[in-house]
């Protein structure tokens, strides 16, 4: 066993893994530090020749003056990007909160208790994991038109919940199954089911709860299909929908890259600090 030290092969493997991880991101993100000309040059440049932060100012509505005096004007998308950032935060936090409040007891019940029709109910919940968004896009839209929910945060939250709830239920069931039979201890100590669940099970399942909320948050934060249809161009626009303004029509790869980087920061932050809990989240 040569587990304890770096062998040449291990160094190579780690290098490949890091390249695999970061090259695809870097290749686009580097545009954020480049000018239009630099981005367009062929053959493509691997490194920004004169890195500058113009794009990060531009997407938040500020002009930026390059050292040579050229002024790079603020993007007209800035208002949407900021609105999107705010809305994405709101939607993600609301969705995560509701998902966790709703899903924790459900997953717990499915994991730890035996009752009739459990299998069928579970199958129904899991079936909704399989539903492709493109199938429900139009029906949702039609219903939302009737209810006046198009272009609202409420509407987006509801539709996002249909994605997060089933998947998080499924992930947490596995986690709860592996907890020790602590309920019995709690019953001996005289605690009610509610107390047991909220004050004992949930704190005990901290890892699982954290990871499940991260997953809910990521799904909400990264949701684009519904957002593109339901809230684009509205007051409820989310960051992905706002950002896609840099993707279509007129080329703004630098702004796209800068806003992508901004959009990646919250998930990265969360994933980075919670990764050690992920392994504890036993699916099986």
């Amino acid at each position: 066993m040569t587990r304890k030290r770096f062998s040449i092969w291990l160094i190579l493997a780690v290098a490949v893994a890091l390249l695999w991880t970061f090259l695809p991101m870097y290749w686009t993100i580097k545009y954020a530090f480049m000018t239009k000309t630099e981005i367009a040059s062929f053959p493509p440049l691997s490194f920004p020749p004169a890195p500058q932060l113009a794009s990060f100012f531009n997407i938040f509505g500020f002009d930026y003056t390059l050292p040579d005096g050229t002024v790079i004007p603020a993007s007209g998308q800035a208002r949407q990007v900021m609105l999107g950032l705010r809305n994405s935060m709101i939607v993600s936090v609301i969705v995560t909160t509701i998902t966790m409040v709703v899903v924790l007891p459900v997953a717990y019940v499915f994991a730890r208790l035996e009752f009739t029709a459990k299998g069928k109910l579970l199958a129904a919940i899991l079936l909704s994991v399989s539903l492709p968004p493109v199938s429900t896009l139009i029906p949702f839209y039609a219903v939302y038109v009737q209810l006046g929910l198009v272009g609202t945060i409420t509407g987006l939250v509801i539709v996002t919940l249909t994605i997060t709830i089933p998947i998080v239920v499924w992930m947490l069931i596995g986690f709860f199954r592996n907890l020790p039979p602590i309920e019995q201890l709690a019953r001996i100590d005289g605690f009610s089911r509610l107390y047991t669940f909220t004050r004992i099970i949930v704190p005990m399942a901290r890892s699982g709860v954290l990871v499940a909320s991260v997953i809910a948050f990521l799904f909400a934060w990264n949701e684009y299909v519904y957002a593109q249809v339901l809230v684009t161009g509205s007051q409820a626009v989310t960051l992905p929908a706002a950002m896609s303004g840099f993707l279509f029509q007129v080329p703004e790869p630098a702004h796209l890259a800068a806003s992508l980087l901004v959009s990646l920061l919250p998930p990265f932050f969360i994933a980075f600090f919670l990764q050690r809990h992920i392994a504890e989240m036993n699916l099986v």
Binding site: P180, P181, L185, I188, D189, F191
Partner: protein, 366 residues
């Protein structure tokens, strides 16, 4: 503190009947061990006593009061679970306090009780640690402190020592017995380890397939096994069994099969002849001898040296494994044939059909 009666308790999980018509009384201040292999219903029985599971039918009485439908906490029992389960997210102190959280005791009083309990089992220095940072033995002690802090009517322990290594088990075993005697609280202890059962219990209830096979003092269980199962399960090294028949001959009754003919003497002589019978004899009641008319031919399989004695493991008649306790240092060629004999007076006889003991009129000497 509590005398516990179980009256015709049944418990089924769907099709499977886990406990069948169980009647049992646990006397006040007694340490009763429920012994049996896994799946025999002993844990289920304990859970029903605790109130964690509802009996399908029957009654449970604490000091004559029917508690069958009463929640666990109201029964004032304390329980230590398998592997000494504790709340993993709480420190030892908080774990112990949790036992009193639902009582109306004042905070100061709770603190005092926790200190007392911790002192009793010597875990004061561990109180601020989390379960994950405690060793198996320490966790067991904390779990015990958590149990005694309640000053319960009854302790229920569900294989608390099973995950520990042998040496630790040995010491914790006596600690628990000592504690129970000091507190003089009724205790029910579930285990599948017959040595644990023998060493700890005031009485042992041996269970199998949801039924109580036999209940009695360790000595009774050991010396007077009522069923084939109890005979085989209790005692180390385990009981030797011979299949055969009791025949009436000119010289008197003999236990006979193809390989052996043992005359029945003493109390055994009073047994009636029967075609099929199982003879059971403890290994240390057999001795090696020269080949003779009453000897049993055995083929040496292995020799286990225990220091103070040795055990010869042999293949006996009908492919039964037979053990004979001999003097330490004994040696023999593996595969060679040796002979042993025993006094049928101290043997037990079972009916293979009912698996129950065939009563002898007078008691055999121990």
């Amino acid at each position: 503190m509590a005398r516990i009666e179980l009256k015709d308790i049944n418990k089924s999980f769907g099709e499977h009947q886990a406990v069948k018509g169980l009647d049992m009384t646990i006397e006040d201040g007694e340490l009763l061990v429920l012994l049996g292999p896994s799946g025999c219903g002993k844990s289920t029985t304990m859970n029903m006593i605790a109130g964690l599971e509802d009996a399908s039918s029957g009654q449970i009485l604490f000091n004559g009061r029917d508690v069958t439908d009463i929640a666990p906490f109201e029964r004032n029992v304390a329980m230590v679970f398998q592997s000494s389960l504790l709340y993993p997210h709480l420190t030892a102190r908080k774990n112990i306090r949790m036992s009193l959280k639902r009582t109306k005791l004042s905070s100061a009083e709770i603190d005092k009780r926790v200190e007392d309990a911790a002192t009793t089992v010597d875990v004061t220095h561990l109180l601020d640690k989390f379960p994950a940072h405690l060793s198996g033995g320490e966790r067991q002690r904390v779990a015990t402190a958590k149990a005694i802090v309640r000053q319960p009517d009854c302790f229920l322990l569900d294989e608390p020592l099973s995950a520990l290594d042998a040496a630790l088990r040995l010491s914790l075993r006596s600690e628990l017995v000592n504690l129970q005697k000091r507190l003089h609280t009724t205790m029910i202890f579930v285990t599948h380890d017959q040595v644990e059962a023998m060493t700890m219990g005031d009485r042992i209830g041996v269970m199998r397939d949801g039924r109580l096979e036999q209940i009695g003092s360790p000595t009774d269980i050991y010396n007077e096994p009522q069923t084939l199962f109890v005979a085989g399960f209790v005692g180390a090294p385990p009981m030797n069994f011979f299949d055969g028949a009791i025949e009436e001959t000119a010289t008197g009754k003999v236990f006979a099969n193809a390989d052996m003919r043992v005359p029945l003497t003493g109390s055994a002589a009073e047994l009636d002849p029967r075609a099929r019978v199982v003879l059971a004899i403890r290994p240390h009641l057999m001795e090696l001898c020269e080949e003779g008319p009453e000897s049993v031919p055995l083929k040496v399989y292995a020799i286990e040296q225990l220091g103070n004695e040795a055990i010869v493991v042999c293949d006996g008649p009908n492919d039964n494994r037979i053990r004979v306790v001999v003097a330490p240092g004994y040696s023999a060629q593996i595969g060679s044939t040796i002979h042993a004999r025993f006094n049928a007076d101290v043997a037990h006889f079972f009916d293979p059909a009912t698996e129950r003991v065939i009563p002898k009129l007078t008691k055999a000497a121990a």
